[in-house]
Symmetry: C2
Subunit: 103 residues, 2 copies
């Protein structure tokens, strides 16, 4: 089992339309990825670990798949549409990584 | 509902003993946090989002609580013990943030 992490850094000057993200972007992503997508999470950064510090990431999203292969097969046909939608809700370039689920 | 993210950057020269982490550290954390801890995840970075790139984070762990207050009440009495265990499995200083669960 793997997760694709999409981390949006909390840069100064960053904009992020959470309403569009939750009601338009993520539902579209879920529809395009179909049954290959086993679960998704979206978390909104509130604060850093030390008192008075800011969260490093404005938003952290995860998408769970059975395997890297299953992710690539589901994502690649829709990559242009999904990535092309990003400027509609943020000016942040997200950091993406693939992780293996341990727990 | 909130999640505490603990992100271990994938620095060059970084060491991380996943076996110790999964069999000693996280079980100890789970025991100390008790019923306040609603769920935990541990994911091991495999690759970056672009072909041939490395994962930004070696390990990403999340701990879920009902509220920031519930987290602080559970964590503070054990902070020294939990943080003092970190050098036993890694030389990485983790990035910590608190996020609000949206999905």
């Amino acid at each position: 089992m793997i997760k694709v992490y999409v981390l949006y850094p909390n840069n100064s000057g960053a904009t992020f339309d959470m309403d569009y993200y939750l009601t338009k972007h993520m539902p579209m992503v879920g529809e395009r990825l179909g049954a290959a997508l086993k679960a998704m999470t979206v978390d909104h950064g509130l604060a850093g670990g030390q008192p008075g510090t800011e969260a490093a990431y404005r938003v952290i999203t995860t998408l769970r798949f059975d395997s890297v292969d299953a992710y690539q097969k589901a994502f690649m046909p829709h990559a242009a549409e999904i990535q092309g939608d990003i400027p509609r809700f943020t000016n942040i370039a997200p950091t993406v990584q693939i992780s293996e689920v341990k727990i």
